[in-house]
């Protein structure tokens, strides 16, 4: 079920395009013939029940899994064969579902690591730490402090070891590191998982600001329907590795296939009523 992208039909190529992506591991089909486009400057949410293949989709776009068939295009370029480390340099940023911060380092070092692909210091520069290494490090530090640490309000913990931080702050540091990657598209895997109401709202604010202030396109896997409905321009629904619906949030939410995927079969009309009633109640609150 497809609806035309927002903004009308323009001949601007999508930032990210996934064509007939199939991923099969020894008989398990994690992804089956998934195709969609992500337009530049949009926030797109990927939703679906657990095990639907959302993280596998991210991992395939990241290059960690080689698709069994299908192509991935980024900025008009076919990146399906591009090795994983090079994708970061192209502008593909990402955060992870289970926080993948490096526990042996401080917050600042973790964030600096995000910039790795764009730095130029080589081992000889590093050993002597004169000239290029020193300049690059200073510039990096300044940039991170002023743009990222300030933006995400984590200046009070910059020297803390990440293992000592509470979960919500760790997730924010993870976002900071993903931003340090100077991404053109930011893939967030469950950015608000496990967060309370306040943390979720903060993160939602950050995501919107990232789009408006930084011009970064966002592709996020999310379970929190409030986030999905409020933030996204476009929603993609996966179930059992297949793309079952995509379009504007309001349209997708009413799609019977989607409802059935989440809530199981049953009286769709009755379920739809209850769903709408729930949403209306939230809006009134």
């Amino acid at each position: 079920m497809e609806t035309p992208p927002l903004g009308g039909a323009v001949a601007v190529p999508p930032l990210l395009q996934v064509d007939a992506l199939t991923l099969a591991f020894r008989g398990v089909r994690a992804l089956s013939d998934v195709s969609f486009k992500v337009a530049s400057g949009t926030i797109t949410a990927v939703i679906g029940p657990n095990g639907a293949g959302k993280t596998s989709l991210f991992n395939t776009i990241s290059g960690f899994y080689r698709p069994t068939s299908g192509r991935v295009h980024f900025k008009g370029q076919d990146i399906t064969e591009v090795p994983t480390p090079l994708r970061a340099k192209l502008g593909l940023g990402r955060s992870f579902q289970n926080i993948a911060l490096f526990r042996g380092m401080t917050v600042l070092d973790n964030i600096k690591l995000g910039r790795h692909a764009h730095l130029k210091t080589n081992v000889l520069d590093a050993l002597f730490y004169m000239g290029r290494a020193r300049r690059e490090e200073a510039a990096l530090r300044a940039d991170i402090e002023e743009r990222i640490i300030d933006f995400l309000e984590i200046d009070h913990i910059r020297h803390a070891p990440v293992s000592a931080l509470p979960y919500g702050l760790q997730k924010r540091v993870e976002m900071a590191r993903a931003l340090a990657m100077q991404p053109e598209i930011l893939m967030l895997d469950e950015p608000v998982a496990g967060m309370n109401r306040e943390e979720t709202e903060d993160m939602a604010r950050f995501i919107l600001d990232v789009r408006s202030e930084w011009g970064v396109t966002v592709l996020m896997v999310e379970h929190d329907m409030g986030m999905v409905m409020d933030l996204s321009d476009h929603v993609i629904v996966l179930n059992f590795g297949q793309l079952i619906a995509q379009g504007a949030p309001a349209v997708v939410q009413g799609d019977p296939e989607v409802i059935r995927a989440y809530l199981g079969s049953g009286d769709v009309g009755d379920l739809r009523q209850r769903l709408h009633a729930g949403i209306d109640k939230r809006e009134a609150a």
Binding site: S62, G63, F64, P83, T84, P85, L86, R87, A88, K89, R94, F96, A100, F102, R103, G104, M105, D109, K112, L113, G114, R115, H116, A117, H118, L119, T121, N122, V123, D125, A126, L127, F128, Y129, A133, R134, E136, E137, A138, R141, A142, E145, H159, R177, M181
Partner: protein
């Protein structure tokens, strides 16, 4: 983090030694290092040189194992490569000392690349096993080649540096210690840059590191090559110091010695490498002293070698089980205690 250390520029914040106290400690250490040779006996000078060589090698192993998380049991073999290179160059070519040391480092680094390329593409464990294999192959080559003097090995004349003949521990001290300090500084600098950060990332979570843009094989090889280079230079210093290099000089147990050194000292910390190397070098000396003091001391010296082997193993196990962050962590606890005193409750 130290309280009361305000920085006004980012560059200042990134400095290696950033607080007044640290600078004082550093000045003290420099003072001790400079004055020591003039006040010490020959025996202590000998020990100091040996400690310094071990610190240099342990630092290299720490880069690989402590910071990058790859276990190597080939440190001794790469030291051997460096030592033999230096010996051969001194005997057959007569090139200057600095060049020989660098050549030793490079030959060892090449050896490291040869070992690393097949084994680093898979789990880190395979590197460990490949390095054991490398130790045996190196021993085989050293013992069975006329080029390396066969089983008899090679004997070097004393080194010549800046017109002086380095034939006493005192003179060798002034080459060995500065070289070691330079190597330590280089390693410390490494971890202020993206190269060092990449190493730590590989240790902590290598899959995520890759997605963030770190080419795993390339950086693992870099780490291994660097640590082999360090081993090679340390081996070269060893050759100049002992002046005899044989195939038996660099056994597998020496690799275990260095592994113990970084575990005992604290992996992933510069201070740890230093403390560990100092500690481990002193252990055999303390054992010797202890045995001499015992009632039947003279007869017990034959047990020194196996006891030493056992102690190395027990230290590895003991520290990994009870104090995995090593002496460096113990030192940090002591420091914290004094920082908070008299507020400790």
């Amino acid at each position: 983090m130290r309280i009361g250390t305000l920085k006004e520029t980012y560059i200042a914040d990134a400095a290696l030694f950033d607080s007044r106290t640290q600078k004082v400690w550093l000045a003290l250490a420099a003072g001790v290092l400079l004055l020591f040779p003039f006040m010490a006996t020959d025996y202590w000078l000998y020990l100091a040189c040996l400690v310094s060589i071990n610190v240099a090698s342990a630092c290299g192993l720490n880069i690989l194992t402590g910071y990058t998380g790859l276990v190597s049991l080939g440190q001794a073999a790469f030291m051997g490569l460096g030592a033999y290179t230096v010996a051969i160059l001194e005997l057959r070519v007569g090139s200057p000392l600095v060049l020989n040391l660098l050549a030793g480092g490079f030959v060892a680094m090449l050896g490291g690349l040869v070992v690393g390329i097949p084994s680093l593409r898979v789990k880190g464990l395979y590197l460990a096993i490949a390095t054991i294999a490398a130790s045996f192959i190196a021993h085989f080559l050293f013992a069975n080649s006329a080029f390396t003097g066969g089983t008899g090995g090679l004997t070097l004349p004393p080194a010549k540096f800046l017109g002086l003949v380095l034939d006493t521990s005192f003179r060798l001290y002034w080459v060995i210690v500065p070289v070691t300090v330079l190597m330590l500084l280089g390693a410390a600098n490494l971890f202020r840059t993206r190269v060092g950060r990449a190493f730590i990332a590989i240790r902590d979570r290598d899959i995520s590191a890759e997605v963030l843009g770190i080419a795993l094989l390339r950086y693992k090889l870099l780490s291994f090559g660097l640590s082999s280079f360090y081993a090679g230079v340390a081996g070269g210093l060893w050759a100049y110091f002992f002046r005899v290099v044989t195939p038996e000089s660099f056994p597998l147990s020496m690799s275990i010695f260095f592994l113990a050194a970084i575990i005992v000292g604290g992996m992933g910390s510069m201070l740890g490498a230093i403390l560990g190397a100092v500690f481990m070098t002193m252990v055999p000396e303390l054992l010797k002293l202890g045995v001499a003091l015992l009632p039947h001391g003279a007869e017990l010296t034959v047990f020194l070698s196996p006891v030493r082997t056992m102690v190395f193993g027990l230290l590895i196990i003991g520290f990994l089980v009870f104090e995995p962050h090593g002496l460096a962590e113990v030192w940090r606890r002591v420091r914290r205690f004094f920082h908070l005193w008299p507020f400790r409750n």
